[in-house]
């Protein structure tokens, strides 16, 4: 029985999807398939009702049932109901089969007998299983799924019944209850089969277990159709052999289905598109709905009969169910339309649907309010002519030149800024426009264009700009006087000063420098935050950048007694980066300044350039005190100075590294630090490199 087990192995888990769907076909499943095939063949070839035949038939049945029980016990809760119901079906059919054999031995066989009642009762748990499957695969919409399944199944059963079973039963002499029972077998098989096919046709990932269930019921259907069509002439031994083999095959395949990949997911609502109204489903419904009434019309011309009456009932049932289904569909569409309208009207952005000629197909409430238009003023008219007919400066704006409409017609996606829309009363407002293509079956039909009034945002940006402008003026103007005066005094231009005066002057110059850096850093950060520090990237050698930074800081390094060297470019080495050289120099200068500040006199600071894939790494390496591990993460934070422990306070705003990181990130790179206390630190700036032919 373990051949059919579903317990996972290390190998199988490697092919399991993130949601748990296991698509692995295990070797022992194929062993089970081979044994099942052998048993069915033996049942076909062995003389019927001999000991060997009985041993194979009964043995295979018992083993399959036992395996099925063991598998069903291990099923997860979400699918347990489905498999237990199918197991109940199998148990009932085996019991019915046994009762039939007893009746046959007692020569008490009549049609329909006790066994037939049991066979028909066995379909009750199958219908329960189908219900669970439908509910699982169509959460919240199982009523619609049931109606669809019944329409399709009744239609299919009617067609098969009219063309295949009815002619056969016409000669059998069966009437009344026996006739109904004879029809019920294939009808129920078809109902189940159609339901399963219907579920598979709903899309989603292919489920082998569901497909095997379809095969199983297809075999039952074939068996029941053969039985019904041969009922009239009496069923011979060879036919019985086939019927028994088909019945056994149906059971074995259902047990194999329970062990197949996807068995644990047969009723799980998948997120990748199952349970949709697919084309296959619409086609099947259309065939059923159209064919059966035509069939009834044709047959009724041949005169009244029991079969025709059943077919007429089926046709009426299909028509009524179809009307009900259409009513549900209309209600559903109406509800969805209302929800869509509600969502569209609830959003603050203006949303308009445009066709490929730029004509408005729909406009939401916000769009109408912003443009002060009624729906009829917009729908069916070219949007550009209504709201986008002039440029910001008031000059006419031809539709042919409009970048929004160019994007709409090309099916592109994009955000367009700096545009102006005009209201119905002629007043203008600045907008930011987002264009998304509207595709139907892969064909571009237009676009959904949303727009936002950015008047307030622009006003806030202007206030911020003015604030920075005024603050920079008000802070830097007095600083200019203070710093400049001190520098002139310090220069000796107005005569020598004594040592005490010189000490005070140096102190004042240093602190005015510090204040100047702080003001510059705060203004830089404000501009970075507001996105008003545009970067102008150009290809530049990383080696040259490092050399320039080192050259610029040599004076400070000499004063501190620290040697600073830039790594020379090895022969043939190219490390060209695509950055704003001015800003990256600011970053490197900041890193070098820090390295000098935190290094002891006599130590060395150096730069190193390496290439890593599409990035270039420029390192500033010092032999300073290093940064404790628990403070490494803080160094790039604003005002995140490292606690020195020796009560020495170093000049600096605590903003330099925050600015450096911001510039590195905006340049498409990053900044990293590694450090060891007492050994030194290594700050690395990673920047996007330029390869031959363009940016990497």
């Amino acid at each position: 029985m373990r051949l059919l087990g579903t317990r996972g192995t290390a190998d199988s888990t490697s092919r399991r999807r993130s949601d748990g769907f296991d698509s692995t076909w295990r070797p022992r499943w194929f062993v089970g398939l081979a044994v099942a095939t052998l048993c069915v063949v033996l049942v076909l070839v062995l003389p019927s009702e001999t000991f060997a035949w009985n041993a194979v038939y009964r043995g295979a049945t018992a083993v399959a049932l036992l395996a099925f029980v063991l598998i069903a016990l291990r099923m997860p809760r979400r699918v347990r109901g489905v498999w237990w119901s199918l197991l109940a079906f199998q148990v009932l059919t085996v019991v019915a089969d046994t009762v039939y054999d007893i009746e046959y031995i007692d020569q008490s066989t009549s049609f329909p007998g006790t066994a037939d009642v049991l066979f028909l009762v066995a379909y009750v748990p199958v219908l329960v299983a189908l219900g669970l499957l439908i509910r699982g695969l169509h959460p919240g919409r199982d009523r619609e799924a049931w109606i669809d399944s019944v329409i399709l199944s009744v239609a299919a059963a009617s067609i098969v019944g009219a063309f295949l079973i009815a002619p056969a039963l016409a000669d059998s002499g069966l009437t009344g209850l026996p006739l109904l029972v004879a029809i019920a077998y294939p009808f129920l098989d078809l109902l189940v089969l159609c339901c399963l096919v219907w579920l598979i046709a709903g899309g989603g990932r292919p489920n082998p277990a569901l497909m095997l269930l379809v095969l199983s019921f297809a075999l039952y259907l074939v068996g029941d159709v053969i039985r019904d069509t041969t009922l009239a002439d009496g069923i011979d031994e060879a036919t019985w052999g086939w019927l028994e083999a088909l019945h056994l095959a149906g059971l074995l395949i259902m047990a194999l289905a329970a062990a197949a990949p996807g068995a644990r997911w047969v009723s799980a609502n998948e997120q990748d598109g199952s349970s949709r109204i697919t084309r296959a489903r619409i086609l099947a419904m259309a065939v059923g709905v159209v064919t059966v009434p035509i069939l009834v019309a044709i047959r009724i011309t041949g005169g009244p009969s029991a079969v025709n009456a059943v077919l007429a009932i089926a046709a009426v049932m299909i028509i009524l169910l179809t009307i009900w289904r259409i009513a549900l569909l209309v209600r559903q569409v109406e509800n969805e339309r209302r929800i869509t309208e509600f969502v569209l009207d609830s959003t603050g952005d203006g949303i308009i649907g445009l066709d490929r000629d730029g004509l408005v197909a729909f406009a939401n409430l916000s769009a109408r309010r912003m443009l002060r238009c009624r729906e009829e003023d917009l729908v069916g008219h070219r949007f550009h002519d209504i709201a986008h007919h002039h440029h910001t400066d008031g000059t006419p704006f031809a539709w042919e030149d409009c970048p929004v409409d160019a994007l709409v017609m090309s099916g592109g996606v994009g955000t367009i800024q700096g545009q102006t829309y005009f209201r119905r009363d002629g007043s203008a407002f600045p907008v930011e426009i987002v264009v998304s293509p509207l595709m139907r079956d892969g064909v571009l039909t237009g676009s959904v264009t949303s727009f936002r009034d950015v008047s307030e945002r622009q006003a806030v940006a202007e206030v911020q700009r003015q604030f920075v402008s005024v603050v920079s003026h008000e802070l830097r103007t007095p600083l200019t006087s203070i710093k400049g005066s001190l520098q002139m005094l310090d220069s000796g231009l107005f005569g020598e000063v004594n040592s005490e005066q010189q000490e005070l002057l140096t102190m004042a110059v240093n602190n005015s420098d510090r204040l100047s850096h702080l003001v510059n850093d705060i203004l830089d950060l404000e501009r970075l935050d507001a996105g008003r520090m545009p970067l102008h990237p150009q290809p530049v050698s990383a080696y040259e950048l490092a050399e320039q930074a080192v050259s610029g800081i040599t004076g400070a390094a000499d004063a501190a007694g620290i040697s600073v060297t830039a790594q020379e470019a090895p022969p043939g080495a190219t490390a060209v980066v695509d950055v704003d050289a001015h800003r990256i120099l600011q970053v490197l200068t900041n890193l070098l300044g820090n390295a000098i500040k935190f290094s002891e006199r006599g130590s060395a600071v150096r730069t190193e350039v390496t290439t890593e894939g599409d990035m270039v790494r420029i390192c500033v390496i010092d032999e300073g005190r290093g940064i404790p591990a628990d403070q490494l993460a803080r160094v790039f934070e604003r005002f995140g100075q490292v606690e020195s422990g020796d009560a020495r306070r170093h000049d600096g705003s605590g903003l330099g590294l925050a600015i450096a990181r911001e510039i590195a990130v905006r340049s498409g790179g990053t900044i990293e630090v590694t450090s060891e206390v007492g050994v030194g630190s290594r700050f690395a700036v990673l920047l996007p490199s330029v390869r031959a032919g363009g940016v990497a």
Binding site: R465, V468, S469, S472, H473, L475, R476, T477, P478, L479, T480, S481, K483, G484, S485, Q487, M488, S491, L493, S516, N520, L523, D524, R527, R532, M533, P534
Partner: protein, 123 residues
Amino acid sequence: MTKRILVVDDDHDVRTLIAMSLSRVGGHDVRAAASGSECMAELEQWVPDVVVLDVMMPGMDGPATLAAIRATPAVAEVPVVFLTASVVEADMERLHSLPVSGVLGKPFDPMQLPTLLSELLGW
């Protein structure tokens, strides 16, 4: 070579500092004005080799004074250098787009200012 320079800045201290830097360090002949209108009045009597013009001033600001200079035939060709404390990119772009010889930032090193001015004007 001694040049004639007119310094225009509404801030007394900065004006004094610039004048002192250009005269004492650069050795130039410097006059000062406290506003755009004072600048225009001074230009009626004295034509300098360059006007060092502050940008943000009450009344006639730097660009307005520049426009007035360019509109006065007698001094229309006099080079003008802006001096600004602004760090706003848009402001800088706007200033560079005007007919000036250069834009210098505040704070500046008064010991270097004459050299910077010479480099800008090709003296």
